[in-house]
Amino acid sequence: MRVGVVVFPGSNCDRDALYAATLVGAESYPIWHESADLRGADLVILPGGFAYGDYLRAGALARFSPVMGAVREHAAKGGLLLGICNGFQVLAEAGLVPGALLRNSSLRFEHRWVRLAVERHDTPFTRAIPLGTQLRMPIAHGEGNYFLPEADLDALEASRGVVFRYTTPEGNPNGSARDIAGVLDARGTTCGLMPHPERAAERILGSDDGLLLLRSVVESVAASTERQPVAVHA
């Protein structure tokens, strides 16, 4: 599996994401934000950080980076796309996932461990997560308070667009609507989440639950590669 990690000016979790991908046997490489070549990535990751200094709004300027045209095309073709923290903010600003991330209701930058309930196990990002498993991952953000108008939230829930929710005992750290921590786009191949799976990639870090997301993607890519020859002959 090939994992391309986009590097914006101000990204700071790109190295962690590159490293975490190697732990599940993927070949990972950075993609500079001025490049429009994703080099055959099966999964593109928009990593955490403070792209363009978070000026204007978090993710607002990164959205217009040259690389984003290629990322948009990749997603439109059903290529897998994962936005983590600031990457989620970029996806939301770009309209690649629904919603917006507002300032945390606490008015503070929140950095701590949270627990996630997995709402779906039939997505490319969660298929390797055993049923009933809650994930422990860290968050570190000032704007993670997920917002959509009520009617749109109902529509999102109805289309099963919510994939991760903050749950007890730590609970909702930022005031997110309906405890939403991660969402999918309409086709289910783009995922944005505020917690950091790449920072929960080894036991020594406190949790390796984040690898379950990456293992899911590995499985998903392997499955679609196996399916392709069949489709050709069918």
């Binding site: 204007l56 607002a60 919603g99 507002l102 209701s105 008015l107 917002f147 108008p149």
Partner: protein
């Protein structure tokens, strides 16, 4: 071709949490002020646009406001002409 200067005011929509406004409001009693409420904080962008007339310039400003300065899901904006033909020689 003339130059038109605009101000774009961006405000959080009604009902959208505005933690900055809330923080400021919460601190007002420290100033001995108790009669003030409903504090909302937005941002203002000023810019010069070269165009043939106000209408052409405004198209550009509106586009920037919609696509960049404001996130229409959570923010509303207003465009104001500061200097240029319609605003008189100098404002």
């Amino acid at each position: 071709m003339s130059t038109f200067r605009y101000a774009v005011s961006v405000m959080p929509r009604d009902g959208i949490l505005d933690p900055q406004g809330r923080a400021v409001e919460t601190s007002l009693p420290h100033l001995g002020v108790s009669a003030v409420h409903g504090v909302r904080i937005g941002r203002r962008v000023e810019l010069d646009v070269d165009a043939t007339d106000d209408a052409a310039a405004r198209v550009i400003v509106e586009r920037l406001a919609t696509e960049l300065f404001a996130n229409p899901l959570i923010e509303a904006f207003e465009v104001e002409l500061l200097t240029g033909a319609a605003a008189g020689s100098m404002a």
